[in-house]
Subunit: 269 residues, 2 copies
Amino acid sequence: MPNPEGGADRVAHWSPRRLREAFRQGELNRPTSGLAMGYTQANLVVLPQDLAFDFLLFCQRNPKPCPVIEVVEAGGADPRLTAPGADLRTDLPRYRVFRDGQLTAEVSDITSHWRADFVSFLLGCSFTFEAALLQAGIELRHTREGKNVAMYKTNVACTPAGVFHGPLVVSMRPIPAGQVSEAVEVSGAYPAVHGAPVHVGEPAAIGIHDLSRPDYGDAVEIAPGELPVFWACGVTPQAVALASRPSIMITHAPGYMFITDQRDEAYRV
Amino acid sequence: MPNPEGGADRVAHWSPRRLREAFRQGELNRPTSGLAMGYTQANLVVLPQDLAFDFLLFCQRNPKPCPVIEVVEAGGADPRLTAPGADLRTDLPRYRVFRDGQLTAEVSDITSHWRADFVSFLLGCSFTFEAALLQAGIELRHTREGKNVAMYKTNVACTPAGVFHGPLVVSMRPIPAGQVSEAVEVSGAYPAVHGAPVHVGEPAAIGIHDLSRPDYGDAVEIAPGELPVFWACGVTPQAVALASRPSIMITHAPGYMFITDQRDEAYRV
């Protein structure tokens, strides 16, 4: 991924805490891919308390696309379990603010938007199992091509909960036929961060008719002898929450994740 | 376990659906241990909507003692995911009604107590991994002695959530030293129903000072060469919920569980 700051080396070995401080102070503002390697990064979804039960239940019923890492109750912004001392209002590099289902602002600090009744959800992110795939010698095509991973809406419905319902969104990575089994086993060891693929090959069977036109992210090449392999994607809960047009909802900006103090191994079974 | 109906054979091979109908009609009223073998049984906790988020979050933060099998939202009593067509108000053999933290009734039908704002939680039960232990050739002492399993409050605090906080409650089963490892592996394969033990040997280390005096259930013999092995217990969420003195809370009566249509294997990783 291109680094707008130039020279990843300067910050590549910073600790999660140091990085969060730099984001908080405005010293650094860049996507978090490749930073604090070995530490788990998370998707952020902030919703008012009156939607919190429905959203937590939606996550409980759909653990593959919506793996809950931590929930911070109303009144707090401190993820004590995964990053003690952090502040979710300032410690991500970029946020998106949605009102009535519409993107209204992209900011680097949400303190001025914060309300006492906000509940914050941290959800697992594919970076965790991607690191494991790389360690197992499985290439990540989108990384090699310098792109975002390709993501697609499927015709598979999530299990609804309260006001929340919608389709499963998947990410796709091309995997050589001889490595598919290993890719399943390696990612399956991380059930708390999307886990094993939900589908292998045959995109039409889950309602994907043109791999060259992803709904989110960028298309990547699929070489002869490779199969498209589909994982449940963390875009799902955001897309579903947004579809219900909450009066206000705040998320991280795509690629600008929250960096926790948890080692990836903590999510390995 | 003694069977108050006499002759377990008559109902031992009934399906979950047939058993639920018999409980609903008042045709049968007995503990569910040993019934519908191979099908998952569940603990029931019913709370008003205004406590539902805190309770679901408590379960999310304490998955070993509080493994959520299904949540039925306010307005319904039909566990569509695990027992379609069942009715949680009538299909358990016995219930307990608590008001302001006090037991006020033990009944076989809660239709007259039901409110539109009730949310029902089905939580995993140790029967599931006990069946797996038996199949692995590991004796269950309490079953051989015709008793309830021994349960103890520990000095290990659960992770609090909202109004809910309290100690972890564990069940104890004596296991021969040579089978401890197997007992860990076999039960660990069922993380959705309490999973692997939380502690092996050394009860004092978790605040248990007299194994002969359990807080719930019955004491059992520990033979020479056996270790006390402790599993997170489904009594925990009930004890914790009750300690917050909710205006009303309904549970199953101990041993009188909800029988789902799910096979135990569905909860095996």
